[in-house]
């Protein structure tokens, strides 16, 4: 996030797009409700009638994957009504002329045609956002999980810069990270192209610096992304894989393909706290420690570095994951002799400029947001205040591109995916929590009453959903939360997992798979024995 979470409640306008905030980030939703109470205008762009739409001044249901057209339409209106911030554009940005030229192709009438949102609504959103004093954008996976996810994010940055709503309190472009430490995993260099603090591996100076500290020879070549690794396993260029606390078999699109890939591995090692589906097919599984059984730090979505502290011992012979990595590394012939997470953190501060001023001592009294370059630096709750990281903010002139897979005769409906309130990700944690499991013990899809009527379905009935990649059987709940022609499903439930169906088409730049749109067919199940057969096969 460019700004901190508490600032949200002082915004005058909050634009929520592709984030089911009350489900995925409940305590951020709380800030939205508070802002509303203080008089803020709330704009929600989401194909589903999610809970935050109850407080929305405008809710639009754009067609799946049409976000760039919607945002371009809004920006066209902003420019034609002269609501853009000319002094901000002049002083802080470049590339405006090109953007303006592209935006001419997106009058609200055309944007309306592509998105299915009315011209009046597009105008209303545009004026509300641009003319409020402090306007902030909140977005999540509904924006990024597309084959054009990077375009979506850049379009949001365009909107924010065009109206000068960045680098100021209660403004900004704020991605809400779905998992507790996605931010930290990226900050620490858990990516194929960068070392800690996003220092690129292809830069010779960076490489030299890490070679010195680590006393090693490092590769100048960018590594494989997760989907490329899966292909590598299949074509034999990858032989072995180590997985730390993840369950790619549940969370990756096109599960069948991932399972096939993992089975090709000559060696698969997993470190986890549960026997996940991925662990089940591993050659070796190490029992790790949960967050409550070890010391360390997490970096939350507002870049706040927070301590976790050991409360109890790990069960049985389980060990903290950091210790397991040290043990494996040492036996492998690369001795790692860290005494404690604190010692590791001190090394992190040494090589990670944005964490350089942080220490366990300083974090004792509470989290500090990075960048924190020195011991006397208070941390940075608001990014880009005086300048952008690259100097001037660059506008990207972007054209709308349709999603990879559209509905057709054979697969006439669109499937989109997300979370349900009591569950999390592939369910390994929440489904092992009796209270949460009770709230929703089994999965279901949401289907609109019109579609249910056409198929002759009643709510609660089992149905079959088929895509080009696979099929699942699950319960149908008839509801107008979704629009006609669209169904919604989660990937919390391994026995009926949306990712059997989803499309692994990737964004060309950041390689995010297109989870949010794929074409499917919904079939009524004729005989009950078929359901039982499927249940047995999945057990």
């Amino acid at each position: 996030m460019t700004n901190s979470i508490p600032e949200i409640e002082n915004a005058d306008c909050i634009f929520i797009i592709g984030s089911n905030t009350s489900v995925a980030h409940p305590l951020i939703a709380y800030r939205i409700y508070r802002a509303k109470e203080k008089g803020a205008k709330i704009i929600v762009a989401d194909p589903r009638k999610i809970q935050v739409t109850m407080v929305a001044d405008v809710h639009v249901r754009q067609k799946l994957g049409s976000d760039v057209a919607l945002l371009n339409g809004m920006m066209n209106v902003i420019i034609s009504k002269n609501l853009h911030d000319t002094s901000f554009i002049e002083e802080r940005t470049e590339g405006f002329d090109k953007l303006e030229e592209t935006l001419r192709n997106y009058p609200p009438e055309r944007a309306s045609e592509i998105t299915g949102v009315s011209v009046e609504d597009i105008e209303k959103m545009a004026v509300m956002f641009a003319s409020s004093d402090k306007s902030t954008i909140l977005y999540a996976m509904g924006i990024t999980q597309h084959s054009h996810g990077v375009d979506n994010v850049k379009s949001l940055a365009n909107l924010s810069m065009l109206t000068g709503k960045i680098g100021k309190e209660s403004c900004g472009v704020n991605p809400l990270r779905g998992q507790n430490n996605v931010q930290g995993a990226c900050d620490m260099g858990g990516l194929p192209n960068v070392y800690p603090a996003y220092q690129t591996v292809i830069d010779e100076n960076n490489r030299k610096k890490f070679e010195d500290v680590w006393n090693a020879q490092l590769s100048p070549k960018v590594g494989f992304t997760i989907m490329e690794m899966m292909h590598g396993l299949e074509d034999g260029s990858i032989k072995g894989m180590m997985v730390l606390g993840e369950n790619p078999l549940g969370s990756d699109p096109d599960t069948r393909h991932v399972k096939h890939a993992l089975q090709q591995a000559e060696f698969l090692a997993v470190i986890d706290i549960f026997l996940t589906d991925t662990a089940k097919i591993a050659d070796v599984v190490f029992p790790g420690a949960s967050f409550a059984e070890k010391d360390g730090t997490f970096s939350n979505t507002e870049r706040n570095v927070l301590r976790i502290r050991k409360a109890i011992d790990p069960p049985g012979d389980a060990r903290p994951d950091w210790q397991i990595i040290c043990d494996i590394s040492t036996r492998f012939g690369l001795p790692m002799s860290y005494e404690s997470p604190k010692e590791i953190f001190d090394e992190i501060a040494l090589v990670t400029p944005s964490y350089a001023g942080l220490s366990y001592e300083r974090l004792e009294s509470g989290g500090i947001p990075w960048p924190c370059p020195s011991r006397d630096h208070p941390g940075t709750p608001i990014l880009h205040k005086e300048r952008f990281t690259r100097g001037k903010g660059l506008f990207h002139a972007l054209e709308y591109r349709p999603p990879e897979e559209l509905a057709d005769e054979e697969f006439p409906m669109l499937l989109t995916t997300g979370r349900f309130f009591p569950h999390y990700h592939t369910g390994t944690m929440t489904r092992n929590s009796p209270t949460l499991d009770n709230e929703m013990p089994e999965g279901h899809i949401e289907i609109h009453p019109y579609d249910a009527r056409d198929l002759g379905l009643t709510s609660g009935e089992d149905i079959r959903i088929v895509s080009r990649r696979g099929e699942v059987i699950t319960k149908a709940i008839v509801t107008d939360v979704v629009e006609p022609g669209t169904i919604f499903m989660s990937f919390h439930f391994m026995e009926a997992n949306a990712n059997e169906l989803t499309n692994p088409a990737l964004d060309p730049i950041c390689k995010i798979p297109e989870y949010k749109v794929c074409a499917v067919r919904v079939e009524k199940i004729s005989s009950p024995s078929e359901t039982e057969f499927k249940a047995a096969a999945n057990a």
Binding site: G189, Q217, F224, F332
Partner: protein, 135 residues
């Protein structure tokens, strides 16, 4: 009787709520939201309130497992570590470091993520490391 409260951070979503884990004789008995944390100010969501349940699930892994004759079997740490180190060495020698791939975790700590990428980059001379944030 040993009662204590340990302040820590929620492992679920990216909000980063803090709470106190109440422990009684080595078991977590409840979760109490932190009031001093400016983020959650004494509040938690349903996942946070019940966070201690999954931690103490009977299904937690307690011993290392190694696949023998197609079945995962409980083994000692020594056996699991030696087996792993040998296999990793074999792959590195036979096929080179670029034939290994590492998936790190958005659920593990910064310290663990740091060590894991260091192990990958230094131990195998490859940058084949990614995580599930794209997901």
């Amino acid at each position: 009787m040993d009662l204590s409260y340990v302040r820590t951070t929620c492992p679920y979503c990216g909000c980063g709520c803090e709470f106190l884990l109440e422990t009684f004789d080595g078991k977590i008995t409840s979760t109490v939201p932190s009031k001093s944390n400016r983020m959650n100010q004494g509040k938690l969501c349903i996942k946070g309130w019940n966070v201690h349940e999954f931690v103490q699930s009977p299904k937690r892994l307690k011993k290392p497992l190694v696949k023998k004759d197609g079945v995962l079997q409980e083994v000692s740490w020594d056996e699991a570590l030696d087996f792993t180190a040998t296999r990793l060495q074999e792959i590195k020698t036979k096929d080179g470091g670029d034939s290994m791939a590492f998936l790190t975790s958005a659920k593990c700590s910064n310290e663990e993520n740091y060590l894991f990428q260091k192990f990958c980059r230094v131990g195998f001379g490859t940058n084949n490391i990614d995580h599930c944030a794209r997901l």
